[in-house]
Symmetry: C2
Subunit: 528 residues, 2 copies
């Protein structure tokens, strides 16, 4: 989901924000609250973590058994590797050895999805995203043996424990250590991917499925480390992967009801939702995120045939189209906006006008399909009209025949994502779309795709235009590269040209299991 960095600097919180509640919808959402499934996992080895160039590597250091035989005094530290990425509640039981425990034990623990989060200094972190997301904790223990009081859920593969102090009279030993893992996805429900796929693609798929698994909690979270909440754009792609993997339809349905049950002013679907301490829509609206409710609802119906839900929530979908229509200028083009009004991609240089127009047209098509399915003739006619107007305006005002690209904003910017969304919007024919996509690859405009989320829509555009051959290559080059870099889950941020880049000045704050990056599994399972 969209990064708080952007939210922080160019907030578009609505001053007269009001939440529009539909109690019946929220009750349905509550009833669909999933059972959380638990497993136990234990560390598999002790490791050391050190810097190699710009990146951090973990190296085998010893067995867990040996680490548990050791005595730890002031300043001693160890790092355990749980072997893969887990989301859950760690239980670490310590005991004292030596004389009776004559002072509290004071210990620090730190959890990392990757070696970088253990290696980088968190004390030096001064990024714009809250340091409260750094997965660290210090605890006093007055009575041993006892469990380190960690009341929070963590997302991690590596755990570092450092003894801040004991007393000269006793030392600490680890008596037991495990993580009680949580997910609402059922591993047993995971359909196997095609047997005849090459091994590397199977691995790329497995990492995607694991990413989704970790993000499936009581809603589809964007990332179990950070921000741990339901974002509309992320949810849409998660739902697509879910249909090919865990098939937890009720969780999708729950999230659809949540967004419809707690809207913003005028019934706009919010960019994201909080579920604790109560359901609350965020005061952030994003043009594209609100609209993506429409295809998400349609695809849910397509996957389940659940016509009742489609009917009940169709008005919410139509409302998003209506609100978006209000954003058009007299030409029929989405009005540009200096604020952070639309997401599309995570590129501060990007002008969003053309991409937003593309999303609008794309979602009108899904809206039309819903209206037709439900026999809502009047709504269908209205949408058809809007569709023609918006597509026509795009061709007339945003298409630059001399360049062979769609342009965006006053400065008539050419970007990758504008082309991607116009292709997905079907503004031109399939042949023209293919030509545009090929031209895009050849010309490679400087304003490129940054987030895995934007990469998803590029691959999606390839899929929908019969360019399957190019998909495999692209998946290997993007998601495959993360696997090569050692990913257990797919990362929030990944630029193959600069695998160690961090937009926040520290890798410690990044989310390394991020739902919007899991869609390789969708492409492999559905399109290959």
């Amino acid at each position: 989901m969209p990064q708080e960095k952007a939210i922080a600097t160019i907030t578009n919180s609505i001053a007269d924000f009001q939440m529009v509640i539909n109690d019946a919808f929220l009750e349905k959402a509550e009833m669909l609250c999933p059972e959380i499934l638990h497993h136990e996992a234990r560390p598999v080895s002790e490791v050391s973590i050190s810097r190699e160039g710009n990146s951090w590597k973990a190296e085998w250091k010893g067995t867990v058994t040996d680490a548990m035989k050791r005595r730890y005094g002031r300043g001693d530290s160890l790092i355990l590797d749980f072997g893969s990425h887990f989301v859950g509640y760690p239980h670490i039981v310590l005991k004292s050895v030596g004389s009776p425990q004559d002072a509290p034990a004071y210990v620090a623990v730190r959890f990392g999805e990757t070696p970088a989060e253990i290696g980088e200094s968190t004390a030096d972190y001064h990024g714009s995203i809250s340091s409260s997301w750094l997965q660290e904790s210090t605890s006093h223990m007055d009575v041993l043996p006892g469990e380190i009081p960690l009341h929070r859920r963590y997302a991690f593969r590596y755990m570092q424990m450092t003894v801040l102090d004991t007393s000269p009279k006793y030392k600490l030993m680890i008596e037991d250590i495990l993580v009680d893992t949580v997910s609402s996805a059922d591993e047993r429900a995971l359909a196997p991917c095609r047997e005849d796929l090459p091994e590397d693609l199977k691995k790329i798929d497995a990492v995607g499925a694991r990413t989704l698994y970790e993000c499936m909690q009581d809603v589809f979270e964007d990332g179990p480390k950070r921000d741990r909440r339901l974002w509309m754009g992320d949810f849409r792609v998660q739902a697509l992967v879910n249909y090919e993997t865990f098939k937890n339809y009720d969780l999708v349905r729950r999230c659809l009801y949540l967004f419809a049950g707690a809207c913003m002013n005028e019934g706009q679907v919010g960019a994201c939702l909080f579920t604790a301490p109560r359901v609350q829509v965020d005061d952030t609206a994003l043009f594209d995120y609100s609209l993506l409710y429409v295809p998400t609802l349609y695809e849910y119906f397509e996957a389940t045939g659940d016509r009742e839900t489609l009917e009940e929530l169709s008005e919410t979908a139509f409302t998003q189209l209506r609100i978006a229509a209000g954003k058009l200028d007299e030409r029929g083009i989405v009005r540009d906006d200096p604020s952070w009004w639309c997401f599309l991609d995570w590129n501060s240089e990007l002008n969003k006008q053309a991409g937003a127009q593309g999303v609008y047209i794309y979602c009108l098509r899904y809206g039309l399909a819903i209206a037709e399915l439900l026999g809502k003739e009047q709504e269908a006619a209205l949408i058809r009209e809007r569709l023609e107007e918006a597509a026509g305006a795009a061709r007339k005002y945003l298409w630059e025949p001399d360049l062979g690209f769609f342009v965006s904003g006053e400065d008539r910017q050419v970007s990758w994502i504008s082309q991607v969304w116009m292709v997905l919007a079907g503004v031109f024919s399939k042949e023209e779309n293919c030509a545009l996509l090929r031209r895009l690859k050849m010309v490679d405009p400087r304003i490129r795709l940054i987030s895995p989320y934007a990469h998803h829509y590029y691959v999606d555009a390839l899929c929908h235009n019969g360019m399957e051959k190019e998909i495999t290559e692209y998946i290997r080059g993007y998601w495959g590269k993360m696997v090569e870099e050692g990913a257990d889950c797919y990362w929030e941020v990944f630029d193959p040209l600069d695998p160690d880049a961090s937009p926040y000045g520290s890798k410690a704050i990044l989310s390394y299991c991020h739902a919007w990056s899991c869609t390789a599994s969708y492409f492999i399972r559905k399109w290959l």
Copy 2:
């Protein structure tokens, strides 16, 4: 009780340490476990804390109501004053204001019995006592409103909260704050002190009673901040104050059974006991602390008339005398020892031989009284013999007529505490004792009394030798000075000549409510 500093540097942990358990005694102790009484206390004002010379002062800054109306973001901090010293479990409920809470709140709290513990930097603390005693905690809160997860008991008057981080989208407010106080002392049982006493002595008494109150938990703790456990020497003086104030006889009885139920090798009463996770005697033995079990048992009987307990525990008392006798050389003098074998006072220059001899003789007198009371003629005869031998040896080998003082150790050291214990031991007549005490005051040997615990025995010696006139002056000059310095409870360390001294390099680690300092109330109530 003895400081860990000494324990750390000159540990006398017994290599072949074994615990001698008497299950029946421990069962009795368990049955006598007191009910903990709870009260609620709330902060009374917001204060600012700043340095004045060597000391830290709190100044009124505003009302709690105003502090609760304020919004706290990253880096904001406040200090609340609870108006007096409390021991208990703080409950601090925070809520978020602004946009929905899109990142955990990360807050630090610090508790101080005095302004110094808030003012001094704990990050810079590198003292020999474990930094784990510093009363600070950092917590993450994923969902607001919510309570800061503080699972520990704290001893404090001042509470500082610092917001380490929120997010740019929300701030924190304090919704509720209180402390659930705990003590096994019943305030309603506190007998009023004499109406006709001057106001300053009434205040000195009140602070002493408060000190004891705070230290009365499921045992008599030495200090509710640090070390929170039952030390034999501290227990003896606490019991004396308790008989004049809260009269919780069962708590004394419980502690007597605990020490008798979990002894060290050969049945020696340990210097201190742990009660969690199970009853366990420490592996530290102190010659004087073990012996002080004898007067403590006798005084319990004197206060209660509970003959059954006296009988049942008398063997434990006699055992301490027997073990101590084994420490005598052929002259009948306690063998000196370079290790940390005896406490007496907290003075690294002090030679303990003469003081130990005094404690031994003193305790033999109580042992004799017990044996006579119980009609144990054989034991009485044996003790009488030992008493004569030990007192005679003291007069012969430790008394230096030319100096008019008892001397101690190979270097024949003259110290305050050696004289105090020899006076208490009654080696000479009352007249001679009075002369010795006057000479002590006039000559003022350089090896003086340091701990409030040692000061107690000096005043006790004055009391028992008819020097009541001098007592009042001394109480005003010592305990009264602490009250002048702003003490809510009496401190672990206090030197009127240097009120800001800290033996640990930081005042933050000191215990400012320490049971061995509470005896002013005993003297005021019993002897004035």
